[in-house]
Every structure is written in C-alpha cells, then in structure tokens.
C-alpha cells in the first residue's frame, strides 16, 4: 500500500478534501505498477485506502480494525495512514457499530464497517433489517444511507463454531439491502470500491477462505477502470460474470464456491464435458440476464452455494431460473449446497462443504441422453 502518510495533524484534524485528494494522487504514483501477485485481502485493503484517499467522508470502524488491522488484517495500516478519526476501534458491540454507522451515514459520512465474523453480525440484525434496509424507503429517499457492512463469511478455514456461517440469505431476503460477494482478487478491489461509492447500503460478503488466495492483478489498471467508470457513470454493479465459458451445462456459483465450481468445470472438461461457470457476484441486485442466457444456451444447470440449502439464495436462483428458462431446461435444476445442519466442527467441515465431486455427481444427474 501507499507509503504516503498524511501528517498526524492532518490525519487527526478535520479532514480536508484537498489534502485527501493530494494524498490519493501521491499514493497512486508511489504504488508499483503492472500485474502483481496480490491477495484478496490486499485488494480489499487497497480499495478502502483508495476510497479514503478519494473521499474524506469515508470512515472505517469496527472491532480490532485499528492498531491490529482486523483479525484478518483487511484494515491493516489504515489507522496509521489516515489517523484514528478515520479508522478506529469501537467498543465490542455489533448493534452499536451498525447503529452508530446509520447515524453517521445520516449525517454526511460513508462508513465502511467490519463485522468480525459472520455469526457476530447477528446482534446487529435488528439495526440491519429495521433501519439499514429501510431508512431510504422510510424517508422517500430524502435520507440516503451510503454505508458498507463488510462480513467475512462462510467456512473452509477450520474455524470453531460461529466462525463459519454463510449468512447471505438473511440479508438477500431483506428488501432494501444490496448484497455483493467477490470471488476474485480483482473483484475484491472493484466491487468494494463500487460498494463504497453506492448511495445505498451494501452487505459486502467476503469469502474468508479466499482472503489469502492470489491472482495476478494490476491495481493501477483497476484504479484507472474505476476512475473511468466514475467519469462515465458506469460500473460492474449488479452484473454476473462468465467465469468460464462452456456449452453443456451451467454451474451457477458465488463467493467461496466459485473456485470450487471452476475446479469442477476443469475436471469435467477432462471427461469431455464442457461446463460454463457463472460467478453471480451481486446477489442483490441479481443479474437474471447473464444467468438465463447461459442456461438457455446449455439447457442444464447446477446451483452451488455453501449455505444451508433450505430457503436460501440457491433456492432463489433455482426458482427464478425455472420461472424464466423452463422450456429450455432438459433436466431439473440441481442444487449442491451445504446440508441443513449447523456448520460443523473443523474435522467434519469437509463433509459439509460442496466439493468438486459432489458438483460432478450433480452434473451427472442432469439426465444426459448420451
């Protein structure tokens, strides 16, 4: 990240837009250029830093996000760079964090807050459902609530109970929340900046098992893309991506399941079956167009997600695809999801998680004529 540090008096003083802009410029210059092997963690961290440079109203807070840089180090260095008025620890209370963020967003700030783990966002559920999701609608848009709630979610990290919940369905079902979840390093940067730019609240679901996965990513190119999008009023928001093209069947996945789906597609290719993989990216809004285009083409689909299957985002995808593509379907849409059991202890999570074999089994079940 940028070695440029605002002086402590600047960082602690009333934030000046001019200073911030200058710092942002310097940061861009100081950063190494060209594609680099970068982790998702680093991409998210850079997105926050760039957003904070660009806009003095962007604040970061939560539990342990200051000196420690968060338990996953996603906010590493932000306090040092921007001072503790702009990135700070709160008392240990999630409803407090979200509720305070609502008030700050009502009063001109753009808070980006961290829930330490998925299950530890539940104490804030009332604030999220009854206020974050409803304030804009309640006030007929006179109050905008530009805030991002970052939630490290899902499993596969050998975490103890309460540290691996897939909680996206709770938010996706709540009208008034956008729900994003990146699956690639570049999307980590791209989508978090878009989330921070959004005038509406965004639940930003970060697949924690991908935090340390690396891709070759050119941060400068992403910055330029963001700048261009901002200038043109465009964005990738609400769009799914074809993560791998294919022709025989469609795997629809998001977040932590995308790499698994890609691995399954690679394995299927060896067996001569061409699977298209769709990375949903944005759960709300949902990109019916991209998803349905693929299913209409392939005629078969498997939806993959880590969360319990019952009344889930995966159920929704199945429901809407069958509504929209019914006559293109050669077989029922299959789901490969977490079982309807509490997320298991580390030594058992392997049996719970949708894996390559389970996906391939589901693909095999798609009533092939051959």
């Amino acid at each position: 990240m940028s070695p440029t540090i605002t002086t402590s008096s600047e960082a602690n003083g009333n934030v000046s837009a001019a200073t911030a802009r200058a710092a942002a410029k310097a940061a861009v210059v100081a950063e190494q250029t060209g594609p680099q092997p970068i982790t998702l963690a680093k991409a998210l961290n850079t997105a926050m830093a760039d957003a904070m440079h660009a806009d003095p109203s962007v604040l970061v807070f939560g539990e342990d996000v200051g000196m420690l840089g968060g338990v996953f180090r996603i906010t590493d260095g932000l306090t040092k760079t921007f001072g503790k008025d702009r990135c700070f620890d709160t008392p240990l209370a999630e409803s407090g964090i979200v509720g305070m963020a609502v008030g700050m967003a009502m009063n001109g700030m753009r808070p980006v807050i961290e829930m330490q783990f998925d299950a530890f966002a539940y104490p804030a559920f009332e604030q999220i459902v009854s206020h974050v999701a409803k304030m804009h609608n309640r006030t007929k848009g006179t109050v905008k609530l530009p805030m991002v709630i970052r939630v490290p979610y899902a499993g596969g990290i050998g975490g103890v109970e309460h540290h691996c919940d897939s909680s996206e369905a709770y938010y996706a079902h709540t009208a008034g929340l956008k729900v994003f979840t990146p699956a690639t390093v570049a999307d980590g940067y791209r989508m978090l900046r878009e989330a921070i730019d959004s005038d509406d609240p965004v639940m930003f679901m970060e697949p924690k098992k991908l935090y340390w996965s690396k891709d070759q990513v050119d941060l400068d190119a992403l910055r330029a893309e963001h700048a261009e999008n901002t200038a043109r009023g465009t964005s990738s928001e609400g769009r799914a991506a074809v993560a791998r093209p294919g022709t025989d069947a469609t795997l629809i996945a998001y977040g932590p399941s995308v790499p698994t789906a890609l691995a399954a597609a690679a394995a299927a290719a060896e067996e001569g079956r061409s699977l298209e993989v769709i990375d949903v990216r944005s759960i709300v809004p949902f990109d019916d167009e991209t998803v349905c285009a693929s299913v209409r083409k392939t005629g078969r689909a498997v939806v993959i997600a880590e969360a319990h299957g019952f009344a889930s985002v995966a159920s929704e995808i199945v429901a809407r695809v069958q509504e929209r593509c019914f006559h293109h379907l050669a077989a029922p849409i299959r789901r490969v999801t977490g079982f309807d059991v509490p997320y298991p202890a580390p030594k058992l999570e392997h049996y719970y998680l949708p894996g390559v074999d389970r996906i391939l089994d589901a693909v095999d079940d798609l009533q092939w004529e051959d």
Binding site: N14, K84, G96, M100, G103, A105, H131, H136, R138, V143
Partner: protein, 391 residues
C-alpha cells in the same frame, strides 16, 4: 481533534476538579429529583429544589418560561385533537403524550437550530415543537407512509418504533458532527421500558467512550404498555444507569416545566462544552392508555391515575406564571388561539383524503430501482391498468 478513548480529560475527572466532588457524586444523580415548581404551582425554596454540589440549576428566564408555556398549551391541544381524530377514524393510531407535555416541550426547546433530536413514536408533540409541520408529523400514524418529514431538513429523526435503536443513530450523528468539528448536540429520547433493551446499553457506552455530545433523555412515565417500572428495573432510579458508563445522570420532575428547562438546558450546555454525554431521567406519567388500541383498565387503577392529575404540568405552569404576573387573561387567550390554530390545521389536514401512489412501493427502496423491482413495478402497473379497464 481526536476522538478516542484517551480523551485528554474526561468529564468525570474534570467535574471532580471543578466542583470538588467525588467521581461518584458527579455520575450519580442528585439524591432527589430536581423540582423547582411544586404541583401547586409555587416555586420551591432553593434548598428544596433537590440540587446539590455539582448539580446546581439556575431558574430559566421569563421569556423562556412563557415560550415554553405556549408550547405546553399547544402540545396538550395536539394530544387531545389527535386522540379525537383517532376516535373519528381519521387516523389509525396515536400514542398520546397527554401528561408528558412538559417533557415534550423541554426536549424541543433545549436544542439549538443545528442540534438533532431522535424521538420515539410517543414524541409527536416534541417533533412539532421543534418545528416540523403538524400534518406531516402525523403521516406515520395516519398510515400514508412510514415518515412524513425530511429528517435532515428538520434535524429530527423519524419517530422510531423499534425501541432504543434510534439512540445509536443519535450517537452516530453526534460522532459525525464531532469529526467535522461542528458543535452539534444530539438529544436522544426513549421511555422507561426501553432502557431494558441492549441498544440502550450500547448507545450510552458508545457515546461515553467516544465522548460525544449526546443528551439521553428518558421519559419515565411509569409504564411500558402494561408493565410497570418495578418490572423493568430495581435500580434506585433510571438515572443511576449513567454510572455504569462513567457518565453523569440526573433526575428531574417531568411534570415541572421549569425544572425540565433548567436540567435539560444545563445538560445540553455541558454536552456542547465538551463534557461528553449525559443521562436525564424525567419522572412523569402516561395519563392515557399506551395507544387508543390499549385498555389500561386491565393493569392499573383509576385511583393511581387520579393522583397524577394533581401533578399536571399545564395547570402547574399556569398557576406559577400567573402568580408571577407573567401570564394574564389576554396573553392566555392569545396562546389558546395559537393552539386552536394548530388543532384546526390537524383537523383539516387529516380530513383531506391524500391519494396514495401504488408505484411509491418501488420508488424509494434504493436510489435506483433494481431490475427486479422494475419488473415487479411493471407487474403491479399492469394489474392496476387492467383493473382500471375493467371498471
């Protein structure tokens, strides 16, 4: 300015130094509730106002008292008018603050223009006293929309139902303002029952740790729907809860307009000067049922209610001001006229049938509707046009 837990000197130690009291004496409310004017309308001798070192209060000025009295009369009229409108079916529900008007008025008057108020469903009179249009204020209870005014314009949160959630919004507003170096004070309001909720705890603690200019104002009207105070708390008073946050607490006679102006006025001043948050508990009484939908005879005796009639905030203030020679018949008539004008405004505004716009369902969910919402909106539009055609 740095907002952090290591604020240079905290409010408590500053008070200890300044007032020469212990930190507990700073945080604990005065041993008796602050009362300046008794139920019979006469000024208490200074020694019997409940004040003590570190908790001294000056009598508000005449103009302030008169302005407050006017709002009191208006507030009572608003309560009674709205209850009547509910009975006539012009409004769905109304949680009346009848009997609590002194608290309502003081809450509005203690704030400056740049300050914010975060009211509950019961605080319609405070919202109006703060300057929000009466008819707009009633939008929620009329059932047209969830809120009828622009919070940012009036610096008043939408009257909040999920108990104590709004206190945290107040904390956030104060925090944002402090970060920008503005001297905004936030008055965050809730009831006695609400103090039992987790968000109450989190809001007070956040405000204290970040040393924010928030005055928490609890109207203890003795009931949470049917549940009396004794089932909410066995603390000596709700103001004692301040101690757990290292915050100053105070309790005041919530039917004494004069004491309320003094206590809330001082709290707002201290908050603005950087003392951090304060907690004020007003002892008052919910004279009517929780809302028109409630039946208070199921859980309390008429005799209890009767006792509080004698403590009415309006008649007390009227006697006091009349005795002081500040209020005469002419002035009183002028005030009554103003109150009647507001009542008329309410009656007329609420008898007008405002047509609802079905498409509003989809318009404000997000800044720009999602494709899904556009689809659903088209579905409804189609349905309605077919209905229209079938007519």
């Amino acid at each position: 300015m740095t907002i952090s837990a290591e604020a240079p000197e905290d409010a408590a130690s500053e008070a200890v130094r300044k007032f020469g009291i212990t930190v507990e004496d700073y945080m604990l409310p005065a041993r008796h509730q602050i009362q300046m004017v008794g139920p019979d309308g006469t000024l208490n001798p200074h020694t019997e106002q409940g004040t003590q070192p570190g908790h001294e209060y000056a009598l508000p000025g005449d103009e302030e008292l008169l302005a407050a009295y006017e709002q009191l009369v208006v507030g009572r009229r608003v309560n009674d008018q709205n209850s009547a409108l509910v009975r006539q079916g012009r409004m769905a529900v109304y949680p009346s603050s009848h009997g609590q008007e002194a608290c309502q008025v003081a809450a509005a008057l203690c704030l400056s223009d740049g300050d914010w108020m975060f009211p509950t469903y019961r605080d319609s009179v405070a919202v109006m006293a703060r300057g929000v249009d009466p008819v707009q204020t009633m939008t929620l209870f009329r059932g047209d929309w969830h809120g009828g005014y622009d919070p940012a314009k009036h610096k008043v949160g939408i009257q909040c139902t999920p108990l104590t959630t709004q206190l945290l919004h107040g904390v956030g507003v104060a925090h944002a303002a402090k970060l920008r170096g503005e001297d905004t004070v936030v008055l965050a309001m809730c009831g006695d029952g609400a103090t039992s909720e987790g968000d109450f705890h989190e809001a007070l603690n956040f405000a204290a740790v970040f040393h924010l200019p928030v005055v928490f104002f609890v109207q203890n009207n003795q009931y949470a729907i049917s549940v009396p105070l004794a089932h909410q708390s066995v603390a000596p008073s709700l103001a004692h809860k301040a101690v757990g946050y290292g915050m100053a607490g105070e309790r005041v006679d919530g039917n004494d307009m004069v004491a309320l102006l003094a206590v809330l006025g001082r709290a707002v001043r201290l908050a603005r000067e950087g003392s951090g948050p304060l907690l004020v508990e007003a002892h008052t009484y919910r004279m009517q049922a929780h809302t028109n939908a409630d039946d208070a005879t199921r859980y309390r005796q008429d005799s209890e209610v009767a006792q509080w009639v004698a403590k009415d905030p309006l008649s007390r203030m009227e006697t006091y001001l009349t005795d002081r020679g500040l209020l005469d018949d002419e002035r009183a008539a002028g005030i009554a006229e103003k109150a009647e004008a507001v009542a008329t405004q309410l009656r007329e505004g609420l008898s007008e049938e405002v047509p609802v716009e079905p498409q509003d369902l989809f318009k404000y969910v997000f800044s720009t509707p999602t494709p899904q919402l556009k689809e659903q909106s088209a579905l409804l539009a189609d349905e309605l046009s077919r209905e229209e055609a079938a007519k």
